[in-house]
């Protein structure tokens, strides 16, 4: 596997690279310990692991919503860890983020929430006044159509179902014109049907638009089905990094520790799909 990455590097710089990233919260045990991996453009990566393994922390360190204690993260040739506030803001516009609880402004309409994704590109004043150009509005409508939310454009977000809200979340990330989308448990609060729709959309985003996608997942089956590559995290350390086909039952046991017995069933689903 390392060989493969080596080959990749010769062709182009990796889009994202983490070197020795470590994060300590107040406790003695690190939330992340010496995380190293690099991501090529257009990859679809799932991060799996038990609750509290540090998946969310890992994702948030990438766009510096959480500051890593030490280590280097570079994105698109820029060293993220050294950026000043204004440059960080500029960089964040190129990284979309999707959340388990959608994190939309409930009292605003779908289109208003989608257009929020453009705020990072605006001057403070234009953003405060909410002035969006006709092109931005058209782009928002295109993305909304693409995600099948055409009939909901002017609905308030608190009137939408969970699956629809998450699609608004995806639309808000897409309108940023991102190179990378980080998804923090995007389907953990959804029913299986909506979850499938969301995962399908994410795969399309990656396959058709060439946007790199990193997804934190609880469902091993979804990770196996959708990803190009799976990263297994346990107690803040990467314990597995490879293609879905390399993820054996023993590896899953290693990632999930004692929780793994129930997951064996899910592994069986791989062959059912």
């Amino acid at each position: 596997m390392k060989l493969e990455l080596g080959v990749n590097r010769e062709f182009c710089e990796p889009l994202l690279e983490l070197k020795h990233v470590t994060k300590y919260y107040h406790g003695a045990a690190p939330a992340l310990e010496d995380i190293n991996f690099s991501v090529a453009e257009g990859e679809f990566i799932s991060v799996i692991g038990p609750s509290g393994a540090g998946k969310s922390t890992l994702l948030r360190c990438i766009n510096r919503m959480i500051e890593a204690t030490s280590g280097e993260i570079s994105f698109d040739g820029v060293l993220i860890s050294k950026l000043k506030k204004r440059d960080l803001r500029k960089l964040r516009t190129r990284i979309g983020m999707i959340f388990q609880h959608y994190n939309l402004v409930d009292k605003l309409s779908v289109i208003e929430n989608v257009l929020h994704g453009r705020l990072g590109y605006k001057s403070t004043l234009a953003g405060v006044m909410g002035r969006y150009s006709p092109e931005e509005k058209q782009q928002a409508m295109r993305i909304i159509d693409l995600l099948g939310l055409h009939d909901q454009v002017y609905k308030r977000c608190d009137q939408l179902s969970g699956g629809q809200k998450q699609r608004v979340g995806i639309a808000r990330a897409l309108i940023q014109d991102p190179k990378l989308i980080l998804c923090d448990e995007p389907i953990a609060s959804l029913d299986p049907n909506s979850a499938k729709i969301i995962m399908d959309h994410l795969r399309d985003v990656s396959a058709q638009m060439g946007i790199t996608v990193i997804v934190n997942l609880h469902q091993v089956s979804a990770a196996l089905k959708y990803s190009d590559r799976i990263i297994g995290v346990n107690q803040g350390k990467i314990v597995f990094d490879g293609s879905p086909s390399a993820l054996t039952a023993e590896k899953i046991a290693e990632i999930y520790g004692s929780e793994s017995n129930d997951l064996m069933v899910e592994l069986g689903e791989r062959y059912a799909i």
């Binding site: 766009n63 919503m65 803001r89 500029k90 960089l91 964040r92 516009t93 990284i95 979309g96 983020m97 959340f99 609880h101 994190n103 939309l104 402004v105 409930d106 009292k107 605003l108 208003e112 929020h116 994704g117 705020l119 990072g120 590109y121 605006k122 403070t124 953003g127 405060v128 006044m129 909410g130 308030r156 808000r172 990330a173 940023q176």
Partner: protein, 274 residues
């Protein structure tokens, strides 16, 4: 079925807390009875005093009349009082908006919110009339002291109300917008204020009504002009019960009109948002 009938409902156990509570209530009721029984009325005959008071009320409320003030004068004076209420709510609202943003836990660092919330709680703990009298030391008794004092108290009241309205928007939504590169002011105006606009409005109207009542009192207590001053003159200098009745009715009428307008405005804005 039988089992259910046989089941014993356990009586509430007598804990130390409830025991203390019962003792406290008992002592307080005994003290009340003792005080009422031994109160010194001196020369006041309770029955006669009650009757006289009711008689005064009858004059005030059933025979209102204008002597000193013409109807137009009374109306104009109420407008002045209204102006006092409007001005203090406007100043208070603008300042409180800024302080409210800094006092909301989802928008500002914890130390800042704690300092502002503590400061504002201190101002609120002192009654507004007292603030007016404190500012009267510098500004002299009159409308200036009343405006400053009432504004001061409005700021503290509205800061608390506004900051709690802002806190309705979840921290995670703000995090999501930060992650997309939006800055603080953009998030405030595009997410926080739109989410809380209806509660901001209802708190502001609420304070306007409170300030109207306060402005009447300020007219009397701090010589801040307006209808309150006339009320004070009628009661304290002219002993003109009938005119007191008239003024009271004017104030009630205006309060009702205010209430109606604010209710209508609120429902209109809420409908538009929905």
């Amino acid at each position: 079925m039988k089992k259910i009938e046989e089941a014993i409902i356990p009586s509430k156990p007598l804990t130390r807390e409830s025991f203390t509570m019962w003792i406290l209530l008992l002592v307080l009721s005994l003290l009340t009875i003792y005080a009422l029984a031994t109160i010194d009325y001196t020369s006041v005959d309770m029955g006669k005093a009650m009757a006289d008071t009711l008689n005064n009320f009858k004059t005030i409320f059933f025979h209102p009349a204008a002597h000193r003030l013409s109807l137009w004068d009374a109306f104009y004076e109420v407008l002045i009082t209204m102006g006092l209420a409007f001005l203090t709510t406007l100043f208070g609202g603008i300042i409180a908006m800024l302080l409210g943003l800094l006092a909301a836990q989802n928008l500002a660092p914890k130390q800042v919110t704690n300092i502002i919330k503590g400061f504002v709680a201190f101002i609120r703990a002192v009654p507004s009339i007292l603030w007016v009298l404190i500012f009267a030391v510098a500004a002299g008794l009159g409308s200036v002291a009343a405006v400053i004092g009432l504004t001061f108290h409005s700021v503290s009241y509205l800061t608390k109300a506004y900051s709690e309205s802002f806190e309705e928007l979840d921290r995670s939504v703000i995090e999501a917008l930060m992650a997309s590169g939006a800055n603080w002011w953009q998030i405030i105006f595009q997410a926080v204020i739109p989410s809380s606009v209806s509660s901001l409005l209802s708190w502001t109207f609420m304070r306007f009504e409170i300030n109207f009542a306060n402005a009447v009192a300020m007219g009397a207590a701090a010589g801040a002009a307006g209808i309150g001053f006339d009320l004070f003159m009628d009661s304290g200098f002219y002993f003109d019960l009938r005119e007191i009745g008239l003024v009271t009715y004017f104030i009630i009428a205006f309060a009702l009109v205010l209430e109606t307008i604010s209710t209508n405005l609120k429902s209109k804005i809420l409908l538009k948002k929905a």
